[in-house]
């Protein structure tokens, strides 16, 4: 077991370094900073509700950027386990394949959290100037807790990547992200029976998809809604299940 942890640690470190040095990572963080600026501009248009709008739009933009960062880096990062030949070289070592999967998840999740720390701090500073330190702190915590959404979507992307090619996994992960974001609407439509005889099947599928609305903490920032602890619990459970499944699928994958 200690050899497994050693392999996970080594791969996580190498993957983190590779992603951190990549243009994709730096580019997405820069895009996130620009979107925080855009949120401020849009909030100025909301007469009388500037702070509320800034928090809502800013958190939404950050969540979007961090989730994209997670999906892109899981499915196509330049790290040592993306190119098939790199994978084969790594897997020719006496390591369990699950170490590659877990390391990839840990590296991407850690960098997503770091990115949300940076962007959350930026948004909190802007919110603090307009709305005061208490609101700034809640905004920062919400941004950080929102990074759990990226952890969940990273685990879904990992599951898809464990068996599929880069493009297919990337596309499907984005589709799952969009469906996960619309979970509340989807449940309402299912409850109304909108999909006719397909409703039971779709309800089953909807249960399997991540419910990303758990990570929308804008209501909590404004003084209502569930606390971030519930979001953390949901993220931990869902992501663990996905990573375990991904490791199982990756174990039997052929690298042709």
């Amino acid at each position: 077991m200690s050899a497994w942890f050693l392999a996970v640690a080594a791969l996580t470190r190498a993957t983190t370094t590779a992603i951190f040095r990549s243009r994709i990572y730096v580019g997405l963080i820069a895009a996130g900073a620009l979107l925080v600026g855009l949120a401020l501009m849009l909030a100025e248009l909301a007469v009388g509700e500037m702070v509320t709008s800034l928090v809502d739009i800013g958190l939404a933009f950050i969540a979007l950027v961090i989730s994209m960062l997670a999906i892109v880096n899981v499915c196509s990062n330049p790290a040592s386990n993306s190119n098939p030949r790199q994978v084969i070289t790594i897997l020719s070592r006496p390591i369990e394949r699950s170490a590659v999967v877990v390391a990839r998840f840990l590296a991407v999740s850690a960098l997503a959290v770091v990115a949300s720390l940076l962007l959350g701090a930026l948004l909190a500073v802007v919110v603090g100037v307009i709305g005061g330190p208490a609101l700034a702190l809640r905004t920062f915590v919400a941004a950080l807790a929102g990074s759990l959404e990226s952890v969940v979507i990273a685990s879904v992307a990992l599951l898809l990547w464990s068996r599929l090619g880069t493009t297919t996994a990337l596309t499907l992960a984005i589709v799952v992200f969009l469906l996960g974001r619309m979970d509340t609407t989807t449940v309402e439509l299912l409850d109304k029976g909108t999909f006719g005889p397909a409703t039971p099947l779709l309800r089953g599928v909807a249960h399997l998809l991540p419910h990303l609305s758990h990570f929308d903490l804008t209501a909590w920032v404004h003084g209502g809604g569930p606390a971030p602890a519930w979001a953390a619990l949901y993220a931990a459970g869902y992501a663990t299940a996905m990573v375990v499944l991904a490791a199982r699928l990756y174990r039997d994958r052929d690298f042709t």
């Binding site: 791969l11 590779a18 040095r21 330049p78 040592s80 020719s92």
Partner: protein, 298 residues
Amino acid sequence: MVIEFQKVGKVLPTDVKGRRPVLLREISFGVGAGVCHGFVGANGAGKSSSIRIAVGAMRPTTGTARLRGLDPHDLAARRGLGYAPDVVALDTSLTARETIALHWRLLGHRGAPPENALDVVELADRSREPISAFSKGMAQRLSLGLALLGDPDILILDEPMSGLDPVGRDLVRRIIRERHAGGATVFFSSHVLSDIEDLCTEVTVIEKGTTRYSGRVDALLGGTVGHRVTFDTRDVADPGALGLEPKDGRGVRVVDTDDALVDLLQRARAAGARIVGIETERPTLEQAVVALVARSTP
């Protein structure tokens, strides 16, 4: 056997066009401990696919593949294995040193890798540079250095000389020779058959996913291509009768069988031609492989 393939076949799952690509039909060979074994075949013959099965990256659809007598997916089978792929695939954002450190830990070692880990591939002075700054040849040497890390007793190299300059190729040949002399089992594929002839005692030839030959190199080379006889023709009245076209008092005739050689020598003696030299030409491995494939192609 250290590496053993018995009737290994590999068919991929049905693709989007409804086809089931066949990578390997029936590959069989064995590599004994301490042997340097070459692996030969045209592009697409199945060399890289076979090697991927041998290192545990793919499972055969039919037949059995063994590494140290175990399934290559078994961790114990891959302990002490060094592998370098046909095309260099490394994290270009990492430095050579970081890459070596990663693989050192994947081998189960704690702490930093040996300082001299890159000496053997002559990259010690470039260890702190990102791999993105490396030339193709340097990256290939680093890839070989990774395969040699931890002093493996089995080396599996997929076309280790391709894309290297003459100095780089000489380095790879030297390393293979040294490792083999040190007792390691070396299995490598190459299109440069003179390298295999020079380094290996055994060879496996595959074609279209099927083994055509597996055994000793000298057995494959077998007989002779011909005999080249040089005569002093100054005292010969009619060199043309011996099939010679003399130039500067000498004539050369090449015959392709032992019987033809005996006949020529008897007639030359009768005609008064003095023999200056006889050279027996053996086929090169390249000629032998081409002949083997030609024989087996319907």
